[in-house]
Amino acid sequence: MRWFWIDRFLEFEPGKRAVSVKNISLAEEHLHDHWDGCPIMPASLMIEGMAQTGGLLVGQANNFEHDVVLAKITKAEFNGLAIPGDQLTYEAVIENIAPEAASIRGVVRKNGEEFGHIDIMFSHANNSISGVELPERFVFTGSLHRMVEPFLEAKDA
């Protein structure tokens, strides 16, 4: 399994907001353990989906000069369950951005209807973790980076 919890971006406004989509499929292994006979998308993975959406938005705002890591889940509320066949969209809006960290507000929609709210704070890894040897890049590797490239190329054109 690859650690992608969004399928692609639908909208990407650099430095402001982004919307991604996640189609939940019964082919996903984890749904057979969560739970056997009653597959439900785990809330933790919807939070990860929002973190990937918001994290790329924040990372791009700094030209990917810093890796960003999830530092705090300020809010995570869901109205009901998401199951195979549902389509989720994650809308992340940058609320604050500073040299050391950033925060986003997120809205989750299920099949077009508002379904949850997830607010997240991100930390810039190289600024915030002292005394820990970090690889030069461990978040914005090629595959994640490529998800936003079409939007940035369109803007540059």
Binding site: A71, K72, T74, E95, N96, A98, P99, E100, A101, S103, M121, S123, S128
Partner: protein, 129 residues
């Protein structure tokens, strides 16, 4: 229009309830952010972000919660702030009450300077000039 201390306390309380997930009756003026309200390092930045928005003020980094004190050997020796360190901290935190801390400026007790009232004092200087 000038804000009263009570108005500021109410809004600071709302901010801390949202940022730290605590109940509003836990947020008393004497409550310490880390000891009583369970704040961690990232929460301090979250609080700064929220205060800026709530009160429509700018909070330069290091002004409300000073940094670059503990990593300066001139200011810290044997786990305590030196006289120079204490003087520096007092200059940078005129909004904090040092009466207890200066009796024993152990750096492990520095977090006790960060009380709800410390934030209220700071915000009062910002909103009322």
């Amino acid at each position: 229009m000038a804000m009263s201390e009570q108005d500021v306390l109410e809004k600071v309380t709302e901010t801390l309830v949202e940022a730290l997930g605590v109940d509003d009756d836990e947020v008393t003026p004497e409550a310490t952010l880390t000891g009583d309200l369970g704040a961690e390092s990232i929460d301090f930045l979250d609080i700064v972000f929220r205060l800026e928005k709530t009160f429509d003020i700018k909070i330069p980094r290091g002004e409300l919660f000073p940094d670059n004190i503990l990593n300066n050997p001139e200011f810290v020796q044997n786990g305590k702030l030196t006289d120079a360190g204490l003087t520096q901290l007092k200059e940078r935190m005129p909004h904090a009450d040092f009466s207890e801390f200066e009796q024993d400026p152990d750096i492990n007790k520095m977090a006790e300077l960060f009380k709800v009232q410390t934030i209220v004092n700071y915000v009062m200087t910002k909103v009322n000039g």
